[in-house]
Amino acid sequence: MEQLYSQLADCIEFGKINQAAPYPPQFKGMPGADELTQQLLAEGASAGDILSKALIIGMEKIGVKFRENKVFVPQVLMSAKAMSTALVYLKPLFAQNGSDRKGTFIIGTVEGDLHDIGKNLVAMMVEGNGYEVIDLGTDVTAEKFMAAGKEHPDAVIGMSALLTTTMGNMEKIVREIKAAEPNRKVCIGGAPVNDAFAKKIGADSYNPDPQGVVEFLNAMAS
């Protein structure tokens, strides 16, 4: 079984979706995330174990490589594709047993801003690292963040902004959330955002990349 976990982790890291996929070339003809996940389940592995012993390991490796500029967005998205393939089998099992997830993360791009690639990348990495993700999309108001927060009282809220003008909205939203729920954890990111800005507006964390968000959430969850 351990061998299968490690093979699956490699498939996630290198974006090997299924046996038929010709990419990456070094995995040609080998089983991919699809077949290995099914095989693990057939051999009695739990969804939680597949998540923690394979998917999270693979996603963490690609997340670190991305942070270190060793791979770029397309390769991360290949990994995401492989991960989604595995999650197709695991999600129904998580629904039966919610505790397999490490926690819940609510994410959205702030009001006035329509950029979504960076936000999607963060959402996908967080999901691949074992969290349930509630993606509110783009142009998200304080009310929408807070309504989602009510439904998920323990969730951490994450916000993305790509323009300096929408950073103003981010400040407004963070302040509104913190005024209503001082203990709610909020993290922020996006190209023009930085640590000093996070401190100024009262956000709990700024992360320049998705892996940083995962590490922040892991620290909160532990």
Binding site: Y23, P25, N69, V73, A80, G112, N120, L163, G168
Partner: protein, 231 residues
């Protein structure tokens, strides 16, 4: 008195622009000499079918006189707070082309549809191609301006956009006040976001003594800026 400027507009088909893959690879972060499948094939396939999703248009108004001060540029009573860097780059401009250009709404809609269906990689590829389309279209317009004015003995600067080089993105409101409403189908939201998303705006300086200066990326810490080492 309200001054109206005569707008000049262009339309392009995707085919006319002859999009190259190198800037697409670069914007994705790759070294163009070291890109592996499936990405080149996916990009080629997408480029081959993207034409019907494009509505590529752009244009400019030529404004004069322009008054350049230490950190500001004054055009027809409107003061642009462009900052020291941009005034330096636009030094000696006698007139300026205030431009906008777009690849159209369809590309972002297609990219979003991919993403909504969970096809993030396909959505990202479409998105990046859209960015390269609008930049390539603007390169063409820039060249037309350059060629036209060089016949009259004038030079052209590089192009500069609100949101770069410490020039506030909010200054686009002033820029758009010089353009006809909904010029080239581009509009500006309250938060200074252009619609369609794949749009750019900015200034090009013209004059006998202006210089074309390459983007000085070494002095800037924005590591994944679209202009970084692209030109």
């Amino acid at each position: 008195m309200v001054t109206t400027y005569t707008p000049v507009t262009y339309r392009f088909t995707l085919e006319e622009l002859n999009i190259e893959v190198e800037p697409i690879y670069k914007l994705m972060g790759f070294d163009p000499d070291d890109v592996h499948e499936p990405f080149p094939e996916m990009i080629q396939n997408e480029l081959a079918i993207l034409a019907p999703y494009c509505n590529i248009q752009g244009g400019y108004v030529l404004v004069e006189p322009v008054e350049l001060q230490d950190k500001t540029i004054i055009i027809n009573g409107v003061t642009f707070e462009v900052g020291k860097k941009v005034t330096r780059y636009l030094k000696n401009s006698q007139r300026m082309a205030l431009f906008t250009c777009t690849a159209g709404e369809g590309i972002s809609a297609r990219s979003k549809q991919f993403m909504d269906n969970g096809d993030m990689l396909e959505g990202y590829i479409t998105d990046v191609i859209g960015s390269v389309i609008v930049e390539t279209a603007m390169d063409r317009i820039h060249n037309y301006i350059k060629n036209e004015y060089s016949l009259m003995g004038e030079n052209t600067t590089n192009r500069y956009s609100p949101g770069y080089c410490n020039w506030s993105v909010g200054e686009q409101f002033k820029l758009f006040s010089f353009l006809p409403d909904n010029f080239c189908n581009v509009s500006l939201s309250e938060s200074a976001l252009m619609h369609p998303i794949k749009s750019v705006s900015g200034f090009i300086g013209l004059g006998t003594d202006v210089k074309f200066i390459e983007y000085l990326c070494d002095n800037c810490n924005s590591t994944n800026c679209i202009y970084r080492n692209l030109k």
